[in-house]
Structures are given as structure tokens and as C-alpha cells.
Symmetry: C2
Subunit: 392 residues, 2 copies
């Protein structure tokens, strides 16, 4: 009886890759800056200086996490802004008539659409394909490099199906290649989905630019971060103030930055094992359902499992699951409004039908085995219902 | 005795033009979105839809305040971002080989430096001078218009000395001129310092673009707003997501947007009289101090009083006042880090010496007459001390 009540009250949130709740400790550190400590960090008086010290502290925490200097970190309004700054800002900062950029077909839209957008500005972009495992080939990458290549942007963990790219290996390769070149190739990685799980030491990864998001690591929404290696010739996207080393004008989101700083400090890679265990169990059980297929490759972050279900629309499934209190997503939250099939799954070789029939289950620090049990109880019923409707 | 204790505990915050504390009612509305309602507004499940409804509500409130449609409002990360979007986004959206922009010499740096920055991109900019009262002449404005003029950006209330530009009159004039033209001239106003005090009805003002800041109206930091009149050919500054009518990619700062919406709803123009009264008293008393001079013109917003003091460095004065618990600023918070004299006061005809010797006192909804009394007690002592040091 107790069991049934528990299950009925359960609302499994299985969409941590879309966003995470703010950690209580994070919120506690933010609170003074939402209340009495309301100074503008640019103000010279006491209230201003206190706000300034608070963002300095957050920057210090971020620098520690990234093994960087504080001068190499700017806080932005979102990871999308960070990605835009990395690409547009670098293109603007490089005084070169023709610029070539290399990226992948499975990037987040904030990289992909930004690259597409600047193709009109005498910028050439190569979009590297990925294999069935969602991985680019380093040989493809090196073969694509031209004399005018100045930026390579490869995401660390794919947000839709979790594949981990070999960033360290790519970084090392680019470093070698740079030794033989006059004009340096800068290396950017969107590490938004990696931060909770993988090494983000910028020295080890040998990246020049790295993007993080606060709200994917149990921090508040409205804050992103861009690591910019010393000497990278980047120009600001937003001008008109000396904030963030003159690289991002505008009064700082003090409480948000404080929150992101604390969230970064609280990142604990040791939750990997627990989540990996839950995920492997989840995958095993889901694959027993006829017509199910796993899109997430072996080499993937612990929190993402992407499935396709034959004869089922992902969106229909999402709606039925939602009706039972279960939150999952189709593809990424960022593209949920669009009706086109996932560009990531298509790039990995899925058919349009398979891509349309996919959902992403993503786990986080509050995920319990009970939640997964509940999901596994509801999922087959929902699939049956949908297949009855579609007649497939 | 009681009086002295009161004064000793007093910490007059006279820097509301730099930033304002978050209103308690605003924070109360934000709180659920910092806690249990953590959904991503792009997610289709219940938690996501709740977040979406929250930002829809905020947008509705903003639309009401601006007499606009909800489709004409985008939330950004700061007013600086809004100003950058207005200028850079419009320039990008107008497919025209040569573009001319008209602005003023006293704009906020987010407009001024952005205009200066794009001058390298085949954009010509005219910076209109102002008179002693800090006002542009409408005849100057119309005389500056060229066939390739496509944007006029004039701030509503100057942030350093409070002058109010005749936005409605300018809007009407531009509308007339547009009737005779093939290529429309778009009209932008930075209304950041006006919102608490003046009419922001976009229909009345006849503006195409209008910028607001949350943290200047008792809302949280990290949120701005840009009104974009239907049909204005603007392109996003940040690409890669369908948020904000596809004009500003990135997961929305839900709690921040909710806060800004509530702050907008709470704007009460009826505080003007109280603040005007306190300001007039302040000015009267300060001008009795030998060597003092008022830089704020008659036609100014109620909250700003900018003074110069002969033989005194503004920054030194700020530091002494801060030591006594009083928060004021030199020029604006945004430029406090730079050592150059205020571009606004210089444009109004102040000497470099006068500009260097200025402080801005700015009032807000918590300002009391007691705080002003305390300031008026400490100010002359501080001036004496500084003049003794400088020997002037």
C-alpha cells in the first residue's frame, strides 16, 4: 500500500540535461545579493566594493575549477552568449580577410547557427560529420585544416545523446599543428554538458576557449561563463562598459554570478558512479521493450540516455509521460519548439523516422532508483497506447 | 542623544541611479523560480510550461507598461545588451551598403562606444552636441539627417546629470520626416533612467526601439528589456535558439524576468512629488556651500542631482563620504573605473576641472529627509578636509 502511494506521488524529473534545480547551498550564498548587498560592483563605495568582492570570489572559484587565471574568465548571461562571444568575438578580433572555421554537425545550435550566420561574412565553415558513435574522426579534422583556419569548435559532451568527444586528444593535435603554423588556430569547446562529470582543466585539454552554463550545474539561470586563454584576440559582443575585463559590458548579475561560483565549487565528480549505475540499469531494462533502440553511444556522459521507439512519435510519448508526472525531453529543450528532427541523430545516421521517435532521459544528483522504476512501469503502457493510435 | 545615535547608524544610500535594491514584493514573486519551479521554459513538460507561463506573464506586464504588444518585447541580460541589440541588430537587419546613425554626445557608453565600434564597418555616426541644459536641438537633429540615415538614438534621461530629452517631440518630428522618405529612419531611446518617473508609452513617444533595465527599477540585476516595434528589421546579437521571438537565444533567466515583470508593474509615478521635494531642498542647501555648483539642469528627472565643488576631486569626496557611510558616485557607476572626466559634463560645457570635481547624488523610494540632513552635515566637513589637502 505504502509503495503504491509513493508511486502515485512521484514526479520523476528526468530532464537534468535541460536544466537543474538550484542547489540549496548555492541559493543560500546568493540570498544576501538579492537582498541587502545590492551594490553595483562598479560603484566605488562600500556597497559596491562588497558586490565586487563577491564576483571576484566567484571568479576565483571558477578559475580553480578550470585551472586558469581569474583574468581568463568572463561571466556572461548564458552559455549561448558565451558560444556566440567565442565565435563572433574571435572572428572580429582576428584581423584577417578570409577566415575558415571547423566545427561539427552535432554542436549545440548556439554554435551551429552562429557559424551558419557568419558564413555570409566571408567566413568559411566546415561541419565535420560524426560516426555511429557520435564521434568525429581526428583525421577528418586535420584534413580539413587550411592556411586560413583560425578556429576549431568541438563540443565536449553532446547535449542530445551524450557522446564524449576526445577533447584532450584534439587539443594536443591542434597544439602540434600550431607549432608548424604562423597563424594560430584557436580551439573552443562547449563544455556545458561535461562540467558535472568530466575533467575541465583547461591546461590539460589545451583549449583556448571553453563555455560553461550555470543552470546545468545546479546554479541559477541567466549566467554563463567563457574561459578565454590569455592572448586570445577576442572582441566583446556587448560593448559600453569596463566590466568583465572589458569583454562584456553591462552591470553584473551579482547574485547569479555568486550562485554560479558556488555551483562550480560544489561540482563533485564522485557522483558519476551512482548515476552510471542507474543509467546502465535503465538502458538494460528499456532495451527489453520490443521496438526500442539506444541512440546514446558507449563513450558517453553518465547522465544522458537517448532512446528511439519504433512506431512512436517522441513528442507524443513525452506528453503521455508528462501526464503521469514524468519529465523527459525530445532532443534538447532548446530545440523543442522546432518540428524538424534532431540534427544530432540524423548526423549519427538515424533515419528521419528514428530521429522523430526519440526521447532523451537525463539524470542528476536527485535521481533515485525508485524514480527509474516508476518510469519503467509507465513507459511500456505509454508506448502501447501510442502504437495503438498510430496502428504501427 | 537619540538623534546622535540615529545619525551614527545612518548609511544613506544616495546612489539609486547606479542600482536599486530589489523590492520585497518583487523578490517574493521571484522565489518560486529560484526554488521548486526550476523548469526550462523551452521544455514541453509541466515544469517547463510553468516557467513559460511565468515569463509570459512578465511580458504581459511589460507590454502593458509600454502600451505595446507582447510580441514587441524581448528580455535580455542587461540594458547594455538591449542597447547593443538595438544598434548592432538594426544595422545587421538593414540590407543597405552605407548606413548613417545619429546619436548624442551624452549617451550611455553602451550606445556611445557601440556606435564608435561600428564606425569601422562602413557606418557613419553623427554625435549631436548638447547645450548648457544638456539638451540637443531638434533643428540640429533634422539638419543632420541624410538619405542613408536609418537610426536615431537619443536617451530619455541622462544617467549622469538627469537631463530629460524631448523624446515625444523628437518622435513626432521623425514620424513627419519618415512620411517623405522611402527608407524609414528608426528611433531608439535608452529609457533606463526614465522608467521610474516618466511616461514610457511607446505609442505616445513614437519610438521603434526602447531600452529598460530591471535593476534600476527595484528589480534584480542581470535582466534588461528591449521594445522592438513590429516590422523593425532587427537581427539577434545572440543566435542559436528560438527564445524571445528568435531574437535572443539562450535559456531564459526565469526568476530574473519574473522579477523585472513585477518591478515594472510596481512602478509608481506618484513618488515623483516626494522625491522632487527632497531634491529641491537638497539643491538649495548644497548651493549655499561656497564653491558649489549644480550641473543638473532644470528639466531633469526627479532623482538625480549632480554637483561640482571647486578645488575638490570628486573621487576623493566620494571616498570621504563613503567613510561616513554615505554612498554617492562620480559620474556613473559604469564609468567609475575610468579616470577620464565625464563625457557628459564636458559635452555640457564644463571644464575638465569642473568635470573632475563632480559627484552625482541620486535618490530613490527609500530616501528620507533625515538621510539628506545627515549628508548635508557631513558634506561641508568633507569638502573642508579635501580643500585643506589640495591647498585650493
Amino acid at each position: 500500500m505504502h509503495r503504491i502511494i509513493l508511486v502515485n506521488n512521484m514526479k520523476p524529473y528526468l530532464d537534468y540535461a535541460s536544466t537543474t534545480p538550484i542547489n540549496k547551498e548555492v541559493l543560500k550564498e546568493m540570498e544576501p545579493y538579492l537582498k541587502e548587498e545590492y551594490g553595483n560592483p562598479s560603484s566605488l563605495h562600500e556597497l559596491g566594493r562588497k558586490a565586487k568582492r563577491a564576483i571576484d570570489k566567484a571568479r576565483k572559484r571558477a578559475a580553480k575549477f578550470l585551472s586558469s587565471d581569474e583574468e581568463e574568465i568572463i561571466f556572461t548571461g548564458s552559455a549561448s552568449e558565451s558560444n556566440n562571444t567565442a565565435i563572433r568575438g574571435l572572428v572580429k578580433g582576428i584581423k584577417q580577410e578570409k577566415i575558415h572555421i571547423i566545427t561539427t554537425q552535432i554542436e549545440h545550435k548556439a554554435v551551429l547557427e552562429t557559424c551558419e550566420d557568419i558564413e555570409s561574412e566571408n567566413i568559411e565553415v566546415t561541419y565535420l560529420p560524426v560516426n555511429k558513435e557520435g564521434l568525429i574522426k581526428i583525421d577528418d579534422l586535420t584534413a580539413s585544416i587550411k592556411p586560413e583556419t583560425r578556429l576549431i569548435s568541438v563540443m565536449y559532451v553532446n547535449n542530445e545523446m551524450g557522446a564524449i568527444q576526445p577533447i584532450k586528444e584534439i587539443g594536443k593535435k591542434i597544439e602540434e599543428i600550431n607549432k608548424e603554423r604562423k597563424d594560430k588556430i584557436y580551439f573552443h569547446t562547449d563544455a556545458v554538458q561535461a562540467a558535472n562529470w568530466l575533467d575541465c582543466n583547461t591546461k590539460e585539454l589545451k583549449v583556448d576557449l571553453l563555455t560553461l552554463s550555470s543552470h546545468k550545474i545546479y546554479g541559477p539561470k541567466g549566467v554563463g561563463l567563457l574561459y578565454i586563454k590569455k592572448g586570445t584576440p577576442i572582441k566583446p559582443l556587448i560593448t559600453g562598459g569596463a566590466q568583465e575585463w572589458k569583454l562584456r559590458a553591462g552591470t553584473e548579475n551579482v547574485s547569479g554570478i555568486v550562485g554560479m561560483g558556488k555551483a562550480i565549487e560544489l561540482i563533485q565528480k564522485n557522483t558519476n558512479k551512482k548515476i552510471e549505475f542507474i543509467k546502465s540499469k535503465l538502458i538494460e531494462r528499456v532495451l527489453k521493450i520490443p521496438g526500442s533502440q539506444l541512440n546514446t553511444p558507449k563513450q558517453s556522459a553518465p547522465h544522458i540516455a537517448n532512446f528511439s521507439f519504433k512506431g512512436v512519435e517522441g513528442e507524443g510519448l513525452l506528453i503521455l509521460l508528462d501526464d503521469k508526472g514524468i519529465a523527459v525531453s525530445t532532443g534538447s529543450a532548446c530545440t523543442s519548439v522546432s518540428l524538424s528532427p534532431s540534427h544530432v541523430l540524423m548526423a549519427m545516421g538515424s533515419s528521419e523516422l528514428e530521429a522523430h521517435s526519440s526521447i532523451r532521459v537525463s539524470l542528476g544528483n536527485q535521481t533515485t532508483e525508485e524514480e527509474i522504476e516508476y518510469f519503467l512501469k509507465i513507459l511500456p503502457e505509454s508506448l502501447k497506447k501510442l502504437r495503438r493510435i498510430s496502428g504501427r
